[in-house]
Every structure is written in structure tokens, then in C-alpha cells.
Symmetry: C2
């Protein structure tokens, strides 16, 4: 069942798309250097070597092309075989890298992983798993957060399995609690795919997770479940709604703090205690989302990733490459 | 085209379901009294008169039944013809009330309005319009926020029209900006219904609003559009995600403030300036959601409504009954 090209835990570096992201290549290279120098993560930069400043001894795989942030993903990947994204995926496929990381065009990152590395056999569609911070010790993983705008019940059931495997591998959760996102907690609530998925997931034999049934939008940041399953349309809207709400609140709080000297002093007192929460909410600390269902590790970082975000993503990618994540998804996909 | 039973601006009272809501009937009656005594809103309480305390001279329409919060909506409305909800809707249908308000079973409120008052001719399905507070002068109206789990493109286009009419009637927006909720701003982004709805709405001749194209989840609290259109599944998830995020932030802030004497003092200083935002976010101030597409005014209040929430809802209901809201939806439905 295991295919030849699957990276094994070992000395392979993480392939980092040096050209992807709003702050590429400077912040990307900087993040790679921190990961390498401070955390000993082996990295290979994939990019146009002429455009990369001092890489501090990190090896570079030179490529001639770049898929732009706004370029058509499928077309870009098909046409630009020597792009930093396609070459990164090829390194994973060929076992020369243990994982790939990109802060570039999300669609093109998915397409390069899908076309060049390929799906795990038996998995219908890959899904993006995004960790959502909350006040519990570990984040809640939301998937699909944007890869598939339309999802069948069978796909949702596979997302439940993949999300649980990811939650175990990434956060050490022994038996993840998995919820199905709907508009009411009762089993009969939701659209037709959700109702059908509820039956499929509820009927799974020894799924390796605890299915808690339906959860609602307000449960996303409650920390009461480890994984929330939904289609990529709803997931993406919900994720961005959370971002917007937090942005609103931060703006309101900063507005109140900025009023005068007394409010500024009060803000200073409180910030000391809010700092751990802010750190937890900081997208740069989360380490990016993961494309699950690919026959390898592919981390999708935010387009606005700073060096810190890239360092986090490289650490997560390297850590995950040493787990049985992909092997377990392969085993559970049962193909 | 106008039907006989449509309430006209005038002396008719707002029919208030005295038995609906977690805090019924005490808080409901209290809210009615404040609306009547402080704001001069004519109200008729619909409920089991034996269970109502001093109503302060507000007339009561006695009924023998109550549809419970967790009862099957359609079944409840069909079987309990003498329930407070069905009787409230009948008062609107018969022109004896200018509007109905309930904090009870949401599904049953919709069903009683739909079955007893009826749809506006030409409207495929009613939708719940929920005002979302932001830092702009007026809220953004999200619809559908839960009435229809599955929506065709044609329904979404009607929601755009109804949301715009509501935004004008409720907030005095002359030419509302209407966005279509999707997972990318470009016209081609989204699921098949959204793509089709984009074409229909974009092609409308003199719709009475400005179609701004796709918006994303993070735009819900930005205040950049007056109306956001989506299906009831996505809308409900997004709305509850916002509630959850704000709950998270409030918990985090209260946690920081509660640390010690110095943080408590700092919190006190800041709360003075946060109060207007908190007031704006308070669901009790918003005045409830409105069921649009019904041939009358039906306000759906939160199940946990306090007296204050009921007072707000009664004021909104009464105000709206004096606008051309329903007449304009009727005219634009063009049937």
C-alpha cells in the first residue's frame, strides 16, 4: 500500500517556496534562517537564486519561474514547471524533501501539491485544516477551510477522519472529539449533506475519534471539540468571520485605549495579561494550515507571513514529517 | 395587488407573544410595559391570562395553548391553533395588529407567520434578516441568517432585494450597498448558487441598491456594506461564529481585568470608553431579527430576551409598521 516516494523521517530538509508571499523573498529567507540557526530545522530554499540575499548557508534549489499571487492556480502549475511551487512539490514527491511550505498563491500551492505529489489513495479530495486558537490548551482544527466549495457527505466523513488524525499527530490528542458544523445541535438539523454526513460518521466502526455530533458557529472558539468538519465554503466564511470579529474587537479596544493618558496607562497594565492571548491569536504563531489528503506534508502559510510565521510553519512541517500522519491517513483511507 | 389584510399605519397595536422566550412571561410583560409607558407603543399581549402578572393596563388576548421552545415548529403551529404564537399571527393577518413579536421557538414563529399571515406574492421563501453591529453608524443586515438551509440563486437574488428594502426602511439608507457572501472577492469565486446569484443580481435593472459584488466573512463587521446576502446555513454559521468570537474576546478581556487590584482599576478606566461599543453589541439593544417576505411585520427576538430586548423589538416593530417596507417588497417582488 505504501508508495515509493513517501518521505520518511530522516535527514531530508523542508522545501520552502522562497518566492511565495507578500513579503517574499526577504521575510521568507529570514524565517528559514531562524528555523535553521535557532531550531536546527533542515531547510532547502526553492527560488530564483539571483533574487535571494544571504541565505546563511541554507542550500538553494534554483528555479526560473514564479507563480504570481493572483495567477490562475491550475494554469500556473501546468505551465510553470520550473516555478518555485512546482519544484517544491517535486522535491517532496521525489523524497528529497520531507515537506513543503509556501506562503504564496493558496490555490496554486494546493494545485502543485495535488498534481505533483498526488492524493492519498482512497481520499476523494484534499482539505485545508486550519487551527483555530481558543482558551483551551490546544486549538480546534477546522476543515475544510477553503479547498472545496462543494462537498458531498462522503467527503465530509473523510474530513472527519483526516482532521482527527491531524489533531493526534499535531497536538498529541489521543482520541480527538470531532464535531460536524451545522445550524442546530440536534442530529436532524442542517442541509442535506450535513444530515447524511452525520449518519455516515455516526455509523463509523472504530473511527479513532469521538464523534460529538453537530456543533454550531459559536463552538469554533470554545475549545469543546478538537476538530470541526464542514465544507470549504462554509469553513472559509466562518474562519474569515472570526478574523473579522477579532479585528473589530481589537479596533474597539485600541480605540478605547488611545483616548487619553489615563486610558493609555490602563491599556499598558492590561496588555501584560492579555499578551498570552494575543500571542495565541497571532496568525504568525499558529504555523499555517495544512493540506490534508495529499501523499506528503504541505503547509499553507498566510500570504502576509512574516519571518516569524515562516519559522513556525517550518517547525510544524518538520515535526509533522516525523509523525505517522500521512501513513495513518493512508491506512484509514483503506484503499 | 394589495391584499385586504395588510396592516396599515394606524392605531393598531403590536401583538406580543407573552409566552415565548426563556424569561417568559415575566420579562416579556415587563418589556411591554416599558414600551407602552415610556415610549407610547400600543401593545396587545397574547398569552394565558392566568399566568400574566399585572400588565399595567395593556390589553390581553387570552389563549389556551403554548408552543414550547423545543417543540416541532410545523406540527406545533398546525395543532395548536389557540397558541400565543398562532393567535399573534392571526391578529396581524386580520388587521388587528400592525406587527407581531416573539422571543419563542424561532421555527414556530416563522411557521406561524408563514402559514397564518402568508408570503408576499412572488417571494419564493421568507428570510431572516439580522442586523450585525459594527463601528459604522448603522449595522450591516445579514440575510438569510437561518430560515432556509438550502437556497437557489433566485432566492438569493430576492434576499438582496428584500435586504435592501429593509435597510432603507429600518436605517434610512437611501441606496443600500449590497454584497454577496462568498470565499473570494472576484466574481467567479464561490459555489454554484453564489456564482449564478452574482450574475442575476449584477444583471438586475434598477434594483434600488448598489451591488458591490462578493464580500467575505471578514466584511461582516467592517461596515463597508449595508446588506450581506447568503443562504440560511452559511448565514447562521457565520452569525454564531461572530457571537462566539466576541464571547471569546470578552472572556479574555474579563480574565485580564480580574487579575488583581491594578488590572481591575485599569478595566474601570477603559470600560467608560468601551461602553458605547458594548451597548452596540448588546443583542438586547438590537431589537431582534425580522422575517422578510411575509405579508406583514414579524420580529423574531432572541430566546434569552430580557425586558429591554422586548422593548427594543416592540419599538422596531412599531416603527417598521409605519414604513412602506412590506408594500415595497410587494411592489418589487413584481407578482
Amino acid at each position: 500500500m505504501a508508495s515509493d516516494h513517501v518521505p520518511q523521517p530522516g535527514p531530508q530538509p523542508v522545501a520552502l517556496d522562497a518566492m511565495g508571499g507578500d513579503k517574499a523573498p526577504e521575510e521568507i529567507v529570514k524565517g528559514a534562517r531562524i528555523a535553521y540557526e535557532q531550531y536546527g530545522i533542515p531547510v532547502v530554499l526553492v527560488g530564483q537564486s539571483g533574487k535571494l540575499e544571504d541565505t546563511g548557508g541554507i542550500p538553494v534549489v534554483d528555479c526560473s519561474e514564479v507563480i504570481a499571487m493572483d495567477e490562475d492556480p491550475a494554469l500556473g502549475v501546468r505551465r510553470k514547471k520550473d516555478s518555485s511551487l512546482v519544484r517544491s512539490a517535486d522535491l517532496v514527491r521525489d523524497g528529497k524533501a520531507c515537506a513543503m511550505v509556501s506562503a504564496g498563491n493558496t490555490g496554486a500551492t494546493m494545485a502543485s501539491a495535488l498534481f505533483r505529489i498526488g492524493r492519498v489513495k482512497g481520499i476523494q479530495r484534499p482539505a485545508i485544516a486550519t487551527p483555530i486558537p481558543n482558551l483551551a490548551p490546544t486549538p480546534t482544527v477546522l476543515l475544510d477551510s477553503g479547498a472545496n466549495v462543494e462537498c458531498s457527505a462522503g467527503m465530509l466523513a473523510q474530513f472527519a477522519m483526516m482532521g482527527a488524525v491531524f489533531s493526534s499527530a499535531r497536538y498529541g490528542i489521543d482520541r480527538p472529539r470531532v464535531g460536524l458544523l451545522s445550524i442546530g445541535e440536534e442530529a436532524g438539523k442542517g442541509n442535506s449533506q450535513v444530515k447524511e454526513a452525520h449518519e455516515i460518521i455516526g455509523g463509523m466502526d472504530d473511527p479513532g475519534f469521538d464523534f460529538t455530533g453537530n456543533v454550531e458557529g459559536r463552538d469554533l472558539m470554545k475549545g469543546a471539540v478538537d476538530v470541526v468538519v464542514t465544507d470549504g465554503f462554509t469553513g472559509n466564511v466562518a474562519l474569515k468571520a472570526l478574523e473579522g470579529a477579532l479585528g473589530f474587537f481589537v479596533d474597539a479596544l485600541m480605540g478605547a485605549i488611545g483616548q487619553d493618558e489615563s486610558t493609555k496607562a490602563a491599556g499598558k497594565v492590561l496588555f501584560e495579561h492579555l499578551a498570552p492571548v494575543v500571542e495565541r491569536l497571532d496568525p504568525d504563531s499558529v504555523g499555517g494550515a495544512m493540506l490534508l489528503g495529499i501523499d506528503g506534508i504541505c503547509i499553507i502559510s498566510h500570504g502576509s507571513s512574516s519571518a516569524k510565521a515562516i519559522t513556525s510553519a517550518l517547525r510544524v512541517a518538520h515535526d509533522l514529517s516525523r509523525t505517522k500522519l500521512v501513513a495513518q491517513i493512508r491506512a484509514r483511507a483503506g484503499a
